[in-house]
Amino acid sequence: MLISLLQAIASGVVTGCAYALVALSLVMIYKSTDVINFGGGEMVMIGGYLAMFALLAIGLPYAGAFVFAAVVAFMVGAAFDRVVLDRMLGRALPGQSVLVAMVIATVGLSYVLKGLVRVVPYTEEVRRLAPLFAGDPVFLGPIILQRQDIAIVVIAVLLMRAWWAFFNFTLLGKALRATSQNPRAAALIGIPVRAMRMTIWGIAAIFAAMAGILLGPKLLMTPDMGSVVILAFAAAIVGGFHNLPGCILGGVVLGVVQNLVGLYISSRAIVLTPFVVIMLVLVLRPQGLFGGAVVTKKV
């Protein structure tokens, strides 16, 4: 029984890190633009399919597939901001908030991406993206983990660290934070606010695409794999939507709780767990388990 418990926890950590990778992309956009991106799951999905296309149709090596997917994903994210969101902002009357409309636009983005990918031949069957790290499983005592699983955990932590460093130590990161906190003041000191918004959408799309490439071998590829975004939202809410390390930990907590529920309550309850967790966190600790005290963000 102890072995099963340890295995369930280990697998939960891996699955949770997968959720967290998607959550990183969502939190990134939310922190910078206040928009909740309901198209985040489909950005993950197209990342996986772009890599599959690069590997199978173009014949690129995996490194090339990463670059290809990253470039195209950046273009998709940036284009969505420039063509849709930027125009919505530009047409808003003074003092009028278009935030709700922008969020709804992201729902539209999810449908457009899902519709577009369905015309690709690879989507007729459930397919598995070739694992980045293949080979025999790794045994940690009685616990069995795939190499790809370990890669997901390591890359999730590295991405989180990289993003934290980017936000805190680079000029672009600081400019993005300034744009997020007070766009008018940012513009007054010479920060190109529109370009910053476009950049953040592009970078978030890259992160989502990277998540898709890592998840493709684990969750398998279908046009509906974007539904993982619900679990990513749960991870972000558990960890705190403003807290990047928190969303990683939130993902891990969620993954482990799901598995414990499956082990000790019922397999049928696994799928309900994220929603119960979301409700509990929103009621009991709205800022998330790892979020700080609630503060007014805008100045």
Partner: protein, 401 residues
Amino acid sequence: MLATLIRTLLLGAGAALALGALPVRAADPGVTDTEIVIGLHAPLSGPLAAFGIDPLNAAKMWYEEVNKKGGIHGRKIRLIVEDDKCNPNEAVLVVKRLATVHNVFMINGGSCTPAVIATQEFISREKIPFAMLNAAGDNGVFPPIRYMFGAFGGTQRADGAVLVEFAFNALKARRMAFIVHDDEYGNAKWATSKAVAERLGAEAVAVERISPRVTDVTTPMLNIRAARPDVIISAAYPQPAVLIAQKYGEFKMTAIPMVQAVQGIPVPDIFQKNVGNDAVFSNFYYGSPLNDMFNGPRQQKWVQMYKQYYPDRTPGAWMAFGLPPAMAVTRALEKAGRNLTREAFVEAMETLDFESEVFAGKIQFAKGRRDGMRSAIVIRFDGKKHTVMPGAYAWNGRDGM
């Protein structure tokens, strides 16, 4: 003179009315002197398109063959094809469009049970004959509904019963573990599997009900491992079926035979590639309602015909599933005669009893029976070779009801 004239006029009018009455008789929609319009629908896009494209193509091919031979009672079959994406809402819209915009005579469609079930109310209300394509459609045929015929490849009940019979008789399994989805499909499969296991005296030592959208099957497989079964019977859809097979290999459970329902392994070669671990296939079986392996000699007639019609497309294992429904429709059209009505067609469908040369058992309907076929074979797949296991298994029509 006047009386003669009046009599002549009346006789003439009577004769004209009598003669005119024949063509004036109101025919059912979709039937003219020269054609019968049939609506075809299936998932032609999206993640479940593999279930629909080839069976629909196969049905089209059969209707085309019939047309080449002169049609039915002098009428050619004209097809209207729609994509339902296996989505219940989409399927209802498609069926309504076929019936009200295209005025089809009958509908031959549906590859997914929930999508077919969603159309049931409209079909019954409008009294449109409906023959499912390759949907199992348990809730569409139990209890029987006058206008809906289906389960040409067997219901979930039949499929579940066959796998348990096989595990009990061929694998000598007495402690069985089941993985089924927590939807209508899973409910139907589990109801019969449980009943057959109880009748045979086998024990269900683990029953894992999982969501079709599950992203991690670690705990269901841990629960099964802890239950120490003699066999694992999985009725999962393609994506969860791969995740289950991966964990089965990862947790070194391959000493326990795994029997997978055909729904989870639409294309065995792609399934194997997705699993990515050949050790999984050391003790692996899957059920099939076909009368042979997809690439076996008894299926070649259909495969070759398909290649002639669709030279650019390699047929998947689901292809042949589209043939028996179309065969049933054309046989019933023949039986219903030249004076074709929807009611006459339904009555003709109820009398069908024929070997399709596609499936493991006969296609049979009756007044109180709307599920077409109840037999299946089991195939062993070792990762390279598919071997048909001896014997065909059949559901008795009572277990799980």
